[in-house]
Symmetry: C2
Amino acid sequence: MSLFFNKVTIIGVGLIGGSLARVMKAQKICGEIHGAGRGRETLEEAIRLGVIDHMGRGPAHAVEHADLVVLATPVGTFASLVREIAPHLKNGAILTDVGSVKGGLVRIIEGLLPPGARFVPGHPIAGREKHGVGAASEDLFRGAKCIITPTEKTDVNALEAVTALWTAAGMNVVIMDPEQHDHIFAAVSHLPHAAAYAMVSTVAEFSSGADNYTTFSGAGFRDFTRIAASSPEMWRDICLLNGKNIVEMIEQYQFALNRIKKAVKHNDGRKLEELFRSASDVRRGMQ
Amino acid sequence: MSLFFNKVTIIGVGLIGGSLARVMKAQKICGEIHGAGRGRETLEEAIRLGVIDHMGRGPAHAVEHADLVVLATPVGTFASLVREIAPHLKNGAILTDVGSVKGGLVRIIEGLLPPGARFVPGHPIAGREKHGVGAASEDLFRGAKCIITPTEKTDVNALEAVTALWTAAGMNVVIMDPEQHDHIFAAVSHLPHAAAYAMVSTVAEFSSGADNYTTFSGAGFRDFTRIAASSPEMWRDICLLNGKNIVEMIEQYQFALNRIKKAVKHNDGRKLEELFRSASDVRRGMQ
């Protein structure tokens, strides 16, 4: 099967959307790329950088005649965006996304689409240290995992095409169901973000006036809380969309903290070392 | 005042002890440096690298005639080490340490020393990404903070000498009392370590068999949990020595997590964004 899309529309031309555009251009996977999104300046920059070819008058207009539409805006915008573009998708168009929540959101999007549109939910686990289309690179995805979460409604050919697309970007595609995705990412991504926000708040509460505790933080605290600098709106939306799993994970985490607290309170060095050692072994095994 | 020690003894010639030795040699602050510690091989390596000049037959022997003795082993060993070396310290000797717990431990050490020995508790906040004497560098401390926590018993001249030593190493010396130190570091260092161990345990519990959740972790989780690879024994001892403050911080942290959990449970986007935004603002302000 040769992978080629005549017209591609990317909604949200930031780091992820822009990098995917660069992959498609570099590998001649597409004819022309249209961009859409809230920021006119971002789109103009994307054209200037050669990341996209055209900018539409809005998402609905931009997706007309597109063979592939990629949602690369924050997940909180997906439902209303799909509602807006759904009537304008051509018959047979493939719609995919790069959102970090699947589960119920996938079912909502499926419910909004006309019968001829083919949705393939995706989640490339790409580095997000940098932001914006200026940092977009065809190498961003190389070697990382991309989770694709088809449902019983997913068109097999569309699934194959999206799999081929991310494979072309250098990613290792993993297929799983949307609910399993959300449980896993509640644990490895959403919980750590919530925990980092909570940690910064905790320390900030002791940091009034001259006694600013954060000025004494070392590399550990900085590493630990780096993700707390992430966009509050984006993480608000992720937490709301994956609420049930996140509540479960926070509770599990509080339980693990309780075990440590109890061992400290009881001055139980043996237990404490055991708790730390098992975690330390897992973490060392990760790299 | 010219800063010079005829004989210096460093107990625990790892990254910190070794780097301090390199500073003293580079700046000709000392005559000869003796090393002591549990690992014979480490000491032999330190001699081969020119970090120290001699290795003693044990701490008690090594500290004889020393003008400056530096405790650079894990804090859990301090009390028994001081008990062992106390009778061998020469009159007027300065004893200092690099431990990350002060508070009650400082009082314990003071209680163990003979009247002629002058203890100055210190805590250089140095990067600990690398380990061992092989990574020791005279530049390790440059630009970072060193906390010195004198008590009403601390000799003023000894305090001045230790302050001058860390200043010579390029550190910004901050003076505070031992109890305040332990409250601050429970927040910015000890709590994050406990939290990272708890986080890894939480995720590991969902990682049985083929479904290893940790294999899906991105840069956020890895940053967040890097410190969980630290030595379990060392952190056990720190938690036990600073137990009261750490229990307080874990409780504050659980309280902050509860606020987030509650907002997620109640689908309260406004509250969630407010919680995330205030933390995000603090974190962004930190660099």
